[in-house]
Amino acid sequence: MYWLSQEEWVVLGLSARVGICCAAGVAIPGIVCGWLLARTRFPGKALVDAILHAPLVMPPVVTGYLLLVVLGRRGLLGEILFRYFGITFAFTWKAAVIASAVMAFPLMVRSVRIAMEMADPKLEAAARCLGASPLRTFLTVTLPLARPGIMTGLVLAFARSLGEFGATIVFAGNIQGETRTLPLAIYNSMQSPGGDAAALRLVMVSILLSLGALIASEIMCRRFSSFEKGIE
């Protein structure tokens, strides 16, 4: 892709980094929450479910604003983190990761939950009778059976991160080389005079990346199901 400028390569690299960190960050909490929602009953489950899914229906700008209120340097948690640990999130690339992770989390939880609901509890009972503890049963039976759903969730989280705009611009800002991911760069180019060509290039890159992620997840799922059927 020789036709991308140095600056655009930086944008692409940053987007990839934020996307991968976002997918990695939602992986374990997403699996745990998906399992809790699929397999357990606890008081207030409906409320937890609603809160987890809120970022899906709220305007992203509102999510970004709330993140700023909580994690900003003068935010409820942010102030403590800064004062005692010297950690700041807002307006750094980590904020872009957090913003997109919060936005992507419901997607991850949803696909894990559906996959875990599909995983047959009878197979877990079989594992228990063969001597596997509940944790081992989860790791060796439930998790592998839910693998396609987990993979799909991770790809969705990555793709969501690539497309995240509203929460990122509010919580992380639009700082060249630090928080300017693909959508922000596209927006920026569109706003600057003569930036149409650059915007178009980035739009094409963005489309390619998103489609690539979807195709990759499709291939992974197909390979998994053919493994089970033994047609490998």
């Binding site: 047959d120 009878k122 197979l123 009972a125 079989a126 594992a127 228990r128 009778c129 063969l130 001597g131 596997a132 503890s133 509940p134 081992r136 049963t137 060796t140 039976v141 592998p144 059976l145 693998r147 493994f227 089970e228 059927k229 033994g230």
Partner: protein
């Protein structure tokens, strides 16, 4: 040795069992919905009883009074399910060693090689469960349970989803597991034939209640037991040895392997349908009680090939048919009409002749049959 006193209430269903099982193989017979599977799941720890006590040897697995409930993975009981439940994401080989891998070498009772040989699994190891036939999958499931070195095998209708021909292919394997591994077995089925082919010790369940426990010929005196057993297909299982083949007469001559020498002390000869099997080989054959007739004397001038002398051990009247237990070296259950029983004026101790056609004998564990 399994001690079991358990109660479970689920909606309108109430299960209540109280028994003491010490036989190598015990069958649990009952119609569907009688609580057989629930009973096995209680023993395995998958379903907690509402009250009761379950102990194996001297170890208490469940006791509602002292609040003991050992989780399923620490009970070391091998449960084999009707639907096999092989792990679809693992190969056959990995399925087999799933439980074995969790044990220390000292706890492992069988080597993978021994189980592969016992159940003839060698050709299947690289396959996925999705590629196996029903009979193969069930053999893998039995092997997987064995390799987890259980103290007892709990078999939950392992053959129910297989057709007659496949059942006959698996039965010899189950007998081999029984004789080679010597692991006590609890075998649940709604088909008496399968159970009686493995053992004559049964527990009979009816609507969640245990109505009888013990050797079949002893407990059929209870009308509820007899009714259940007849509903689930009451049959005689004869242990036989091939003696010779009469190809022209289309017959195979066999000899009964008596549990104890019979009254006359003579070997009992039996004729069955022609089957190409080597002389001296053991086989089990099934004989339905309703296919046997009784006579007070040996008959002449009849085409019936089998006339075996014995004496009446017990006579059980039911509202329509009578069941007569005749000792011919093994106890043989004979079902005759009440009218017939009256006509013969049968009583315990009477000598009688048991008559059945050679074609009434059905060889078991022989897929060619």
């Amino acid at each position: 040795m399994l001690q079991l006193t358990a109660e479970l209430t689920r909606g309108a269903f109430h299960l209540q069992v109280d028994c003491h099982l010490s036989e190598p193989v015990t069958g649990i017979i009952g119609a569907s919905g009688s609580g057989k599977t629930t009973l096995l799941h209680m023993i395995a720890g998958l379903v907690p009883p509402s009250a009761g006590r379950i102990a194996i040897d001297d170890e208490v697995l469940f006791d509602s009074e002292s609040g003991i409930s050992v989780p399923p993975h620490r009970r070391r009981l091998g449960l084999v399910f009707q639907d096999c439940r092989l792990f679809p994401h693992l190969s056959v080989a990995d399925n087999l060693i799933y439980g074995k891998r969790l044990l220390s070498p000292g706890e492992q009772r069988f080597s993978l090689e021994a189980v592969i040989e016992l159940l003839e699994l060698g050709a299947l190891l690289r396959l996925r469960p999705g590629q196996l036939s029903g009979g193969q999958a069930q053999r893998v499931a039995i092997g997987r349970a064995l390799l987890a070195s259980p103290r007892m095998l709990l078999l939950d209708e392992p053959l129910a989803s297989l057709d007659w021909r496949l059942k006959q292919q698996i039965m010899p394997f189950l007998r081999r597991v029984r004789d080679v591994t010597r692991i006590p077995m609890l075998y649940v089925s709604h088909d008496s034939k399968e159970i009686l082919d493995l053992t004559d010790r049964v527990v009979v369940l009816e609507g969640g209640k245990m109505v009888g426990a013990g050797p079949v010929v002893d407990i059929i005196q209870d009308p509820r037991v007899l009714r259940q057993l007849r509903l689930q297909g009451l049959v005689n299982i004869l242990p036989l040895i091939f003696m010779s083949h009469d190809r022209e007469g289309s017959l195979t001559h066999l000899q009964l392997r008596p549990l104890v020498a019979n009254a006359c002390g003579n070997p009992v000869d039996v004729s069955g349908p022609l089957l190409d099997a080597p002389t001296g080989r053991d086989i089990h054959a099934m004989l339905r009680p309703e296919d046997i007739a009784l006579a007070r004397t040996r008959l002449t001038g009849v085409s019936i090939q089998n006339q075996i002398q014995g004496h009446v051990v017990r006579l059980i009247h039911t509202h329509d048919r009578d069941v007569c237990v005749v000792d011919i070296g093994i106890p043989l259950m004979v079902e005759i009409s009440s009218h017939g029983a009256k006509m013969l004026d049968l009583a315990a101790g009477n000598p009688v002749w048991c008559l059945f056609k050679s074609s009434a004998l059905q060889y078991l564990g022989h897929p060619l049959n």
